[in-house]
């Protein structure tokens, strides 16, 4: 049985059991490897994507339960056309190993959509679930503030 799924605006028919987590549908079936596997138990945030604009851990959403359109890091922007948020990430040279950054950016994008001018406390609350073993947090914080300022100018 195939299951219908819309990812980054594209419809897909996926032939997988309905309990396969969205993360593994994206990575292993649809080839969208920008979304990362870190823990499998919603403890690190590396797999964060949006469903109807809401940030979710894709390792915890079963394929059969996906309730809306899925957006991944691949639709945030591209190397030739960075989103404002991605540009801020590059300007602040945020990434070190970079493995967690797709999830960080997707989480930050959801934060900014809801709270266009977040305080440090807002950032703490929204980003607490996203682990970075390289310790890039101070630059992530700076990039979020910078992106918020740039978005308000648009």
């Amino acid at each position: 049985m195939t299951i219908a799924l819309t990812v980054n605006g594209h419809p897909h028919q996926v032939d997988l059991p309905d309990d396969v987590p969205l993360l593994w549908v994206l990575r292993d079936t649809l080839g969208l490897t920008g979304t990362k596997f870190g823990c499998g138990v919603s403890a690190c945030g590396a797999c964060t994507v949006h469903i109807d604009g809401e940030a979710v851990r894709s390792c915890q959403v079963a394929l059969g339960d996906v309730w809306g359109d899925v957006t991944t890091i691949e639709a945030q922007g591209t190397p030739d056309a960075l989103s404002i948020l991605q540009k801020a990430w590059v300007d602040h040279q945020v990434a070190q190993c970079g493995y967690c950054q797709s999830g960080q950016i997707m989480q930050a994008a959801a934060l900014l959509a809801e709270t266009p001018s977040p305080s440090d406390e807002d950032i703490d609350t929204a980003m607490a679930g996203n682990l970075c073993r390289c310790g890039t947090y101070p630059r992530i914080r700076a990039a979020i503030h910078d992106a918020a300022a740039k978005m308000s100018e648009v």
Binding site: P17, R27, L82, Q96, C97, C100, C134, Y137
Partner: protein
Amino acid sequence: MSRIGTIARRTFLIGSAAIAGGVAFGIYKLNETPENPLTPGTGEAALNPFIFLDQTGVTIITPRAEMGQGVHTTLAALAAEELDLDWQDVRVLHGPPAAAYYNNAMVGGLLPFKEYQMTGWQHMMAGQLDKAGKFLSLQVTGGSTSMRDGFDRLREAGASARETLKLAASDRLGVAAASLRTESGRVIAPDGTSIAYGELAEAAAQIVPPTVTLRDPSQWRYLGQSMPRLDQVAKATGTAQFGIDTRMEGMKFATIRQNPQRAAMSSFDASAAETMPGVEKIIALETGVAVVASNTWLAFQAADAIDITWAPAPYPTDQDAIWAAIEDSFDTEPNSTLRHDGNLVDLPEEATLVEAEYRMPFLAHATMEPMNATALFTGDALQVTCGNQSPVMVRDKCAEATGLTPDQVTVQTTIMGGGFGRRGDVDYAVLAAQVAQQMPGTPIQLTWTREEDMTQDFYRPAAIGRFRGAVQDGKVLALDGKIAGPSVNASAMPRWTGMEASGPDKIHVEGAYDQPYAIPNYRIAGHLTDLGIPLGYWRSVGASVTAFLHETFIDELALAAGRDPLDLRLELMRDEHPPSAACLEKVAEMSGWTGQTPDGIGRGVAFSFSFGTPVAQVVEVAQTDAGIRINKVWVACDVGLALDPSIVRAQMMSGVIFGLSAAAMGEITFADGAVEQQNFYDYDALRMHTAPAVEVAILENKTHLSGAGEPGTPPSMPALGNALFDLTGTRARSLPLMHSFDLLM
């Protein structure tokens, strides 16, 4: 795959075949240059092992691997500086496994000198010993050595390529090479005629590279500047390709369950797993069982459904027994006494004696990207793609495990989602190769679950430190430290080099015996515990253990002596090693250190000299309603020469947060022979709401360039403990600190 990726794949395939022709372990004489492993095609040139040239321009091949520390960028800057490339044209790739990429700055570090005291001849001797890295095929990224290793080599590679290109242009244009100059990837003649490097590739490939002199630092455009990192756009867009992102036609997804007691797999029943969705094959291995499926998660599910019987652990099976074994080793002869100054026996009766015992737990690396590798076995060849810190080891161990010769194995090294020393071991690549061997012709990606990653690590060793000392009239008279625990070298050396560790174990006591304190009666002894728990190199290695012992004890001595802990350190260090003292003075200035803190605020200082780099830190903690928060860290370090200040700062910041994470909450414990911690919920690290702001100052008073990746980690742990003592009056002598304090989580 990008055009460059295609070139690299072809080149590296050919390159590895070329290696079979004559380059093998140990055939080099010490001062001979290893063969260039790059074999260019028509219209291309490999001007040396580091500079590849084709019609589209230059690609810089790096001998060290990118795991987040920024080496791609700075190694490329070293070559681009001399080669006159515009920064936006700089492209970079990892080198294939080859002797040419041996680490030229690693082996000398094993000499039991105190680096801060090293004289010219000792540096020279270490430099000669470094060449032994060639014999050992040490293509290793680690030990904070990449800049020391690459500083001359990559600049020479760039300069040599530049002069070769000028000779090629001279031939074509019929003008003297000396009249030519280079700019923006082109050779330019006096009349303004210019030729792109790529157009000269074929001709340049025929020219023997001339001897070159390197440019004076006053001419540098890139070095010493903060360059835009080459990996930022890819990492901000999800397009960066980690090992786990490898995708090949027809690839299957696999996982593995290995013996949590780190011994053999005895037997298993996979009857339930065999019929589960997506399962293609179940494969028995020596230490576990692998499942190959159509999807990684389906493989995870099936692996969980296999009933496996394991052989018992070859080490004490619970934490109490492990601690007891470590305690017992204090009764054995010390393996080393690398510092023994003065007289530790006849101390004045009027002196105040201080004694303390400290405990350090085992730690996991816990890289964000779990262990994984992708392998394709085709009978007489094996292709392995993975992030790794040692490509030659990947090649040789995968060859050995599959019955191939090294020349039948190709290795593609991807960027890594964290290394921290874990990916210097290559067990995960070997397992992928063994699984692939059971399915010839099918590419296999073997991905570990986080639980597998956590419980099958090579751990940072646990240790106990017993320190005693004496103070009198505000002075430190004596410091006598004994450090007991299992040795990382004894565990890892046989895996890495096939040789047993022998002699005084420097790594076991580094960070304690080699600190620049002028204490008249000063002894550091190492006692080794033979445990059998698999251990590995963990960011900052020995100093990750010893700095907490040594620097907490210095604070205890200061308290007993009635001295300010920063002033006391400064007094002991000022004449012993002025650049170290300058770091302390700088961090005092940055933090506005007064020795006094208001209620609700605590501050602690610590210092560590590791990997050639002195680092002083002040940590500030604050009592909040939700628990104690780490507010801020000030860091002053001296790397001799900061080739890229922004990257050095980022590495210091990263090292601090890595160290504070371990100090606050890092702990691996054993029960029933297995590691108890499973995932980030029980092996966590600092996060956005618990990470401090970090301010870094870089000094350049030292004469030798030194590392940045690890030295930030050691002092962060004791600085935090000392700050918590200042806040609460409670001295915690064991890590993690979450067991002793109400830390904000």
